[in-house]
């Protein structure tokens, strides 16, 4: 039977079933298809609820329907306790979304993590983002035991070993290896600035195939980082998506700068928010402008929109930035829209 027929059958029977894995792809995800097809990808993140209600996850995800190619499910971000990323991803997958499961090294050792990698693959989660994770001291359970058995790079390597060699870190064979698109993060805006590109190279050497960066508010810094990455040939080996998001006010910007290490916001942006009549609107305008400029930078393959507590504006920000061109990503209300 020809492949297209199977594909059509699946669309009719169950629009949420995994797509067939294409030649040269490592996963079955739409996200990987969009990137490998050379399209400018857009991802965002969902804030997992403090709730056991699956409908709440769907409600939050539906805000992004039709404008993003994948949704990151954060893993206890800021070291605060929320619904697990695996749980969120299970609900997203069931509803047809293409989730990226975030895996932090803070809460689980290599036994738990490898188990979750298999579990995620089994329920159809085809993209995974490896991070070290925020320290427990900044979250709502500072008395918890930090694990950090692996670091982000050994985690990337672990998942790659499972996928490509079909074995656990221990060497024990897997009956069916997971097939996941492996990603990680990079922060081009934090010291040691001249070595961030070396750190990126290390992550790609370990097996990272896509990269999502920290918030970018400084185009010059991003430009300099991307130039180095292009010169080293790194943008040919991994897809880099640049982080972006709207700031609510000058006060928020200052708070972020002071309290969230690793976030760099130039004074010019803070001043612009300060002087604005409607800071929230101005924050979104800045984000839209930045996105359009980020898209023009050589080597950038997409944007990752992080809009904590401003999720309802994500759709309009993405549409107004025009980074999608005339492409419309998959929408839950109209599953057949996607066909690249």
């Amino acid at each position: 039977m020809n492949k297209n027929v199977i594909e059509m059958d699946r669309d009719i029977i169950d629009p949420t079933a995994p797509l067939p894995k294409l030649e040269g792809h490592v996963s079955h995800t739409r996200f990987e298809r969009v990137l490998r097809a050379g399209q400018f990808a857009v991802t965002t993140e969902i804030a997992p609820p403090d709730s056991a209600d699956p409908a709440e996850v769907v409600r939050r995800a539906d805000l992004f329907s039709g404008v993003v190619d994948a949704i990151n499910a954060t893993d206890g971000s800021g070291a605060n306790c929320h619904m697990s990323s695996l749980g969120v991803c299970a609900i997203l997958t069931k509803n047809g979304y293409s989730p990226i499961i975030q895996m932090s090294c803070r809460d689980r050792n290599r036994i738990a993590i490898q188990g979750d990698v298999l579990g995620a693959a089994a329920i159809g989660v085809g993209s995974v983002l490896c991070l070290s994770g925020d320290d427990v001291s900044v979250g709502d359970h500072p008395e918890a035991k930090p694990v950090f058995d692996l670091d982000s790079i050994s985690l990337i390597k672990t998942i790659k070993t499972m996928r490509d060699k079909g074995q656990f870190l221990s060497g024990r064979k897997l009956d069916k290896p997971p097939s996941q698109f492996i990603g990680s993060t990079i922060n081009p805006f934090a010291p040691p600035l001249k070595n961030r590109v070396d750190q990126l190279a290390k992550k790609i050497d370990a097996g990272a195939e896509f990269i999502q960066t920290q918030y970018c508010f400084d185009i010059e810094m991003l430009q300099s980082f991307m130039t180095q990455a292009v010169d080293k040939g790194l943008t040919e080996r991994a897809f880099i998506l640049v982080g972006t998001g709207p700031l609510a006010s000058a006060r928020t910007a200052r708070w972020l700068r002071k309290n969230i290490p690793g976030i760099h916001i130039p004074d010019a942006i803070v001043d612009r928010l300060e002087g604005a009549e409607n800071p929230r609107l101005e924050g979104r305008k800045i984000c839209i402008e930045l996105m359009a400029r980020i898209k023009e930078i050589e080597g950038v393959k997409g944007v990752h929109v992080m809009a904590y507590k401003q999720e309802i504006h994500v759709k309009s920000i993405i549409l107004e930035s025009k980074v999608l061109g005339d492409r419309q990503p998959w929408a839950r209300s109209n599953p057949k829209v996607f066909r690249n």
Binding site: S132, D149, D151, A190, P191, P192, D198, K202, P261
Partner: protein, 150 residues
Amino acid sequence: MYKVRLWCIKRSRLLETVYLVTKPAIVLGLNAAKKVFGRFLDRPVIVVERSIKGFLFDCQMCGDCVLSKTGMSCPMNCPKNIRNGPCGGVRENGMCEVKPDMLCVWVGAWDGASRMKDGGGIGNLQPALDHRSKGTSSWLKLTEKRSGDE
């Protein structure tokens, strides 16, 4: 000691030379002593190693020393124990996000490595640590390896 630790990063090239010059002699000496004392050698070597490396690098005795690959900055002092760092939370002044009074271990590591002859080793991927090694001697481990690979 924190100040000594910072001094060591600044003198990474010197310490690298000392390490490379003395390593063969130490390995030879330890090998000879091992033949005489066997397992009884472990305890005293651990005590000596802990005192010297503890003073110089705030060594945590992880049992799998990578100092020569991390610019003479011990990664086990990173609150997240990152052996392939840094993380994304380094403060704008280069200090650790968890301990604001401590220079990020990996800012120090890349700095130290930039002065070393064989500093490129910092680009090597470090595998996940074997936690069973904690408290054991990295020096004795050197005697078990074949010449030249550390």
